[in-house]
Symmetry: C2
């Protein structure tokens, strides 16, 4: 991260432009992804109210006293207003909004209801969900973000490369996941970005399968869906391997899935919508007779959050947005038999879609 926080300050200025167009008097951001996006400070969300206020003229952070020092060290926001355990932070926030006559307040959607209720029940201001604004900003990745995502993907792929040497008949799903996590560390990944999926045999027909003690057997597909975090940004990649060789039906399914993944990536252009991308992949798979076995969306945006806008779903009629980053991950699942999923993270730039991934997608036996 830049020591000057130039990217972070620029993001706040861009938010102010959007706020001005929509006559929003205050934007409230609790700790979490958007707080990191605007301040540079990455922290878990706590039950204690920590809230950034962005207004046309100022920005400050209402925070528990014991976070004050850290906020000064790790963010650019100078105005930190600490509260102590004998104060009521919700009351302090309400008082500020009332005294500043904020009549239209946008709220970051991650604010939990237990903060929302004491902040806004019977309030005189009008509240709206602010996620459309932050999502618009976050969809167009800036240079710092592109660099971090690219590094996260490269390092995770290197960890996968180390891991596949270790996969063999008799190894369990959990052992593969543990080995991948060790290799994450070796390659400079700070932490897994989500629970790694390792699904072998019939388990691979469950899209979100958690790794078990099940041993991997010959001729089985094994799906590895994994991501690591680097400088606050996530990677998300899936590859499907076969042990020794694949049964003919699964091999056919693999090639169909790969064709859907690669051809969709190639086909995207400035006239394509995110729904259109989903449709392209679905049509390829349906034509081969497996339409009912592709039981999830084509993909999702990726960045600070593992799942964020844009979503590649049938009702997202938005056109491809410059510098948006998202996954393309068609899957074909045959209940009781197994499944195949191939996932790249891609970016849309200058009218074309390119993949961050370099790990091969051709069918691979280990």
């Amino acid at each position: 991260m830049s020591g000057t926080y130039a990217f972070q300050k620029n993001r706040v200025e861009k938010l102010r432009e959007l706020m001005s167009e929509s006559k929003i008097d205050a934007f409230l951001v609790p700790t979490g992804p958007n707080f990191f996006y605007f301040t540079g400070f990455d922290t878990e969300s706590h039950e204690r109210l920590t809230l950034m206020f962005i207004t046309p003229d100022e920005q400050f952070i209402l925070a528990p006293k014991l976070m004050e020092e850290q906020l000064h060290l790790h963010s650019w926001v100078e105005d930190v207003r600490p509260w102590t355990d004998d104060q009521n932070p919700h009351r302090m926030a309400r008082d500020y909004l009332e005294s500043s006559k904020a009549s239209m307040v946008a709220i970051d959607g991650t604010l939990p209801y237990f903060h929302y209720a004491p902040l806004f029940h019977n309030s005189s201001s009008k509240e709206i969900l602010g996620d459309a604004f932050t999502s618009t900003l976050r969809m167009a990745k800036d240079r710092e973000e592109m660099d971090n995502i690219s590094a996260a993907i490269r390092k995770s792929e290197e960890a996968l490369k180390l891991t596949i040497n270790f996969i063999a008949e008799g190894v369990t799903e959990k052992e593969v996941a543990a080995m991948l996590h060790d290799n994450f560390k070796k390659k400079g990944i700070e932490t897994p970005a989500f629970e790694t999926i390792v699904a072998a045999g019939e388990n691979s027909s469950v899209p979100h399968h958690d790794p078990t003690d099940r041993k991997i057997a010959r001729y089985e597909p094994i799906i590895i869906d994994f991501g690591g975090r680097y400088h606050g940004y996530a990677s998300d990649t899936t590859r499907t391997f076969f042990i020794d060789k694949a049964k003919p039906e699964m091999e056919e399914v693999y090639e169909i899935d790969r064709e859907a993944q690669e051809n969709t990536l190639e086909a995207l252009n400035p006239e394509t919508t995110y729904a259109g991308a989903d449709r392209i992949a679905r049509e390829i798979i349906s034509r081969k007779g497996y339409g009912n076995n592709f039981i999830h969306r084509l993909g999702h945006g990726l960045g600070i959050s593992v799942h964020e806008d844009p979503y590649l779903v049938p009702d997202n009629s938005q056109l491809m947005k410059e510098n948006s980053v998202f996954t393309i991950e068609p899957g074909i699942y045959l209940p009781g038999k197994g499944g195949v999923r191939i996932e790249d993270t891609v970016y849309f730039q200058n009218g074309k879609c390119r993949s961050f991934n370099i790990f091969p997608k051709s069918i691979s036996y280990i």
Copy 2:
């Protein structure tokens, strides 16, 4: 976890009793801690609506289609109502509440505003925060919970024991944290329950310090605040060590903090409130002249969440509750010099408070 889910079913029945007393028609629980508490299914919260409905007569889970199989495998709730990407789950939830004429709806406080807004803006029902109900239930730990917390603490303490052999002059804070995490795995801890704090020298005067590359030096205090997760339950323990020996001022501070910790634990009885516990510790520390250096609350409840009710803060006038589990963690921080914190997790039972911890609290040089 019991294969019969007897504890989980019992928790839902107890919630129904509380709902009946308060004339609540429906209780809504998104994925997260309370979802795990009631269903036995432990999953991260996703942006996709997954919501348990508990009414006087039924319980069901509205869930994305791709979670359906997992929910059947890992929870006792038979009625899963799947939604697909071409459906609007918020609309489905509203339709259910309207058709069942639920006029008073309690909402789990972790529901994010981005789900709350489409579910309840302009709704005809009255919503209230349901956390007082779930908190009442969760404060009184049942046998399964006590066993899991106890195991989490024992295993984490064993990991600490292995780790201190490794601590010496020149080792960095980050290396200590990494070693502790490796030892967690060896001892059967599934994952850290929170970001481990390792704070040496002047860093130990920051209560929530993240580990850095700073090397540990002689005569310095080192605070290790750590917790591991076991079967969904967290541990939370802090010990302060000194490298070689302690400077006289820090040694004095250590003994005051230890006295505050141990005497408070001893003093608790059925007439004590949680605020009273905080006051006892604060008075001991203030009498010795360090009142202004104890800058946080005395403790917090612990269980599925690392921070939950009861909070040991000046305004919690509730009496000690049978089978409640909480931390007692006074700290004394001398800015620029260093700090001391000693934390046990304890339970209140049969009129007395006992610690789950067995790791020594006497001053210890390594």
